[in-house]
């Protein structure tokens, strides 16, 4: 049992077909260092993305160069989705899985909705953008008819408490920064909410 490579930052688009090939090799875009290319079969120069899967049963010596070039190309074109086109390699960087799992747990944050009798918890790790998060929050609370009743006609303003203990409007900073610094979420309504200009939060990244 091997852990499969994970797509960087949740981007699924153009990378999916690349991940299907067992081994792809991104060729350096600008010629790189000759030494580097001549040598290691599985080494790669520069920061061109490399989809490496420690595959079950397949021989890793079979390098499909054509597939590689098209993969490199699509990764370049998909570069907007994949910041820095970092490769996803099994076991790299070498961080103990216990440590990885422990740091992941921190992403559960409490969600309070003004007027709701109880709080919920959401795992920020499972979302990749504000859009997704807000839709999920909507989904959570729309299910509960009690909340719906009191919420009839009222617009909720999503706010969050950050690392420093300050209450901020959701949407100002890039998603990743938000996810890392968010400690809890509160959907405000009423006079408190008026302080924040009632606008749709910008959804970034």
């Amino acid at each position: 049992m091997l852990s499969s490579t994970e797509a960087a930052d949740g981007s699924s688009g153009s990378d999916v077909t690349c991940m299907d090939t067992e081994l792809t090799l991104g060729l350096p875009r600008d010629g790189g260092s000759k030494v580097a290319i001549a040598g290691a079969k599985r080494a790669y120069a520069g920061t061109v993305g490399l989809g490496l899967r420690s595959s079950i049963g397949k021989r890793s010596g079979d390098i499909e160069v054509d597939a590689a070039e098209s993969c490199a190309a699509s990764q370049v074109s998909g570069a907007g989705k994949v910041p820095g086109s970092k490769a996803q390699v099994v076991g790299w960087p070498p961080v103990r899985s216990f440590r990885k799992k422990t740091l992941e747990i921190c992403k559960y944050v409490k969600v309070a909705v003004d007027g709701a009798p109880y709080l919920r918890k959401v795992d920020l790790q499972t979302y990749n953008s504000y859009d997704e998060l807000l839709r999920a929050l909507e989904g959570n609370y729309l299910e509960d008819s009690k909340v719906m009743d009191s919420a009839k006609g009222m617009e909720y303003v999503p706010t969050y408490e950050d690392n420093d203990g300050d209450w901020m409007l959701v949407g100002d900073v890039p998603w990743k920064m938000f996810a890392e610094s968010c400690k809890r979420i509160r959907l405000m309504k009423g006079s408190d909410a008026a302080w924040f200009a009632p606008r749709t939060p910008k959804c970034r990244g």
Partner: protein, 572 residues
């Protein structure tokens, strides 16, 4: 040729604690061998498959403390299947059967079961210390057995284990008569904890020096515990998040001030930055600080804290501290010996990352640095040369560029020269991990200069068999060599087969060695176990000697192929 009676020799040998020295003593003559083996109390077995429990007990019947290691190191990074091996139960069973008076058991990367823990708790009357590091396979039920039955338990230390938490009341299982605890670490547990039981346990443990709590222990419980145990030297905080205006928080402030013996802090598995000032009063006497499990602390809070820790010798943090933050470490912590900087964002580019600048600053400010683990965005040869010059005392040097083949970020050259400078300058280097773009040349340097090197980790490096040969020929003291994704093949593997009997183990994965090469090696060296891990049952593959081997792990052993290997592990 004994001028003294045996008891006198034994008494003299008692002063020799190092096992290396005791091994030497036992080679002098038969009678010294005999006297030494009956008086050996601590045994360290770096590979549990190198020897059998029966032979261990036969030679050292008086053993009281046993350390065992199971899976190879790369198992930490998901390169080894979970049920590969390293089962401790047969060891416990054998020790129990032979009525060994076991007092201490320390395990690393082994498979431990509740049955095993229960057997320990019932078989060894004087059992005092259980230390489990990176183990798995057990639940809190097993811990309950240890708690309930080990009447003289001093130490229960669980470090980074995968424990199935049954949310039972294992802490309640410590009987009221248990007052001997010195060290309790359950930070890795995920389930809820009975706070009242914990408080009572601490209250009746006057010798408690080290306590590491899990995430489930809230701040108010921490405060109550500290009131009972102001003598604590080592504290692992669970949850450190509370309303700073509350009475609880204020109580905590005064309580912490009374903990004058506190030298080591860790945990902060859940932390609000605005609560951190509570620990400021004890910072000035801290020698060890581990904040590496606490993401989300802004750099400004971190540096406020670290500026006060002027006696710090060990620091583990996340890379969100940044190069600037490391600069603060460099100017505040002149006594620093060990630094570990972990990645907070292993898969992204990361705004929060450190570079060569941070490391250079540290090397300038902390000349006593001897142990480093550094995950960084980029590195340069120039920086490594400066570091080598400023810190010649490195014993452990592990550098990890987040991109495994990243070249020198300013010259685009391989990092050969930089690592070369490190091995040349640090004459006492025992452990080295490489990363970044590397050619055979770095291995040439390592073979030439790394005379004391015992453990070397290689990934995505080198151009040819020459690289591996430089290491095997040059590093006389190498014991553990682990290589992944590097172009080393049969020529390097087979050049000097006798070398592997001088080593503990060799791991090679995604390299160029073939099945045929491994078979040849296994045939020539009967005292090595050459294991191939093949996770798909390809019977045909077994006959194709030209096929490359995905994962090979070989180790010296006195007891032949192991019988507990799963069906996808073939011992050739």
């Amino acid at each position: 040729m004994n001028y003294f009676p045996d008891e006198v020799m034994e008494h003299v040998f008692d002063f020799v604690t190092s096992n290396l020295d005791r091994n030497a003593i036992s080679l002098v003559c038969k009678s010294w061998y005999r006297i030494e083996r009956f008086s050996r109390r601590r045994v360290f077995i770096g590979n549990c498959y190198a020897i059998s429990p029966e032979r261990l007990i036969a030679r050292f019947p008086g053993v009281k403390s046993l350390t065992l290691k199971g899976k190879p190191h790369f198992a930490d990074f998901n390169l080894v299947p979970h049920d590969w091996g390293g089962f401790v139960y047969p060891w416990i069973e054998a020790l129990a059967r032979s009525r060994v008076n076991l007092e201490e058991l320390r395990l690393k990367r082994m498979l431990v079961t509740d049955d095993g823990l229960e057997l320990i708790s019932r078989s060894f009357v004087n059992f005092k210390s259980l230390v489990l590091v990176s183990c798995e396979g057990f639940t809190t039920d097993g811990l309950a057995a240890i708690a309930a039955n080990c009447r003289f338990l001093r130490e229960l230390d669980l470090q980074e284990n995968e424990v199935d938490d049954h949310r039972g009341q294992w802490l309640n299982c410590f009987p009221e008569s248990c007052t001997s605890l010195v060290s309790l670490n359950f930070a890795c547990l995920k389930g809820d904890i009975n706070s009242a039981a914990l408080e009572r346990l601490v209250a009746r443990s006057p010798n408690l020096k080290s306590l590491r709590l899990s995430r489930a222990v809230p701040l108010d419980t921490l405060q109550k515990i500290l009131v009972r145990a102001p003598q604590l030297v080592d504290l692992g905080v669970g949850s450190f998040s509370h309303d700073p205006d509350s009475e609880t928080y204020n109580k905590l402030l005064t309580t912490i001030e009374k903990c004058k013996s506190m030298r080591s802090l860790s945990g902060f598995l859940e932390v609000a930055a605005y609560c951190l000032p509570a620990i400021h009063p004890i910072c000035s006497s801290l020698t060890s600080l581990n904040l590496s499990y606490a993401p989300g602390i802004p750099g400004s809070e971190l540096t406020k804290l670290i500026r006060r820790c002027r006696k710090l010798q060990r620091l583990w943090i996340l890379d969100c501290i940044g190069d600037k933050g490391l600069g603060v470490v460099a100017s505040s912590c002149r006594e620093l010996q060990e630094l570990r900087v972990f990645p907070s964002d292993p898969y992204g580019v990361g705004n929060a990352a450190v570079t060569e600048e941070g490391l250079v600053a540290i090397s300038r400010g902390c000349p006593k640095l001897n142990s480093l683990l550094y995950f960084c965005q980029q590195m340069t040869n120039a920086a490594l040369k400066i570091v080598a010059q400023n810190c010649p005392n490195f014993i452990r040097f592990r550098l990890c560029t987040l991109d495994p083949v990243k070249p020198d970020s300013s010259t685009n050259q391989p990092l050969d020269e930089g690592f070369g400078a490190i091995v040349q300058s640090c004459k006492g280097l025992r452990r080295l991990s490489l990363s970044g773009l590397l050619t055979d040349q770095v291995f040439n340097y390592i073979g030439m200069f790394a005379e004391q090197l015992e453990m070397l980790s290689i990934a995505f490096a080198g151009n040819s068999d020459k690289g591996m040969l430089y290491v095997l020929n040059g590093c006389k003291k190498i014991r553990k060599l682990e290589i992944r994704d590097s172009p080393f093949g049969n020529i390097a593997l087979l050049r000097d087969v006798g070398k592997y009997e001088t080593m503990r183990s060799l791991w090679m994965s995604s390299c160029d060695v073939t099945l045929g090469g491994c078979k040849t090696l296994a045939k020539k060296m009967p005292r090595l176990n050459v294991e191939i891990i093949n996770e798909i049952d390809e019977m045909e593959a077994c006959n194709d000697d030209g096929q490359k081997v995905e994962k090979m792990y070989l180790y010296r052993t006195l007891v032949g192929p192991r019988k507990d290997a799963p069906n996808y592990v073939w011992t050739l």
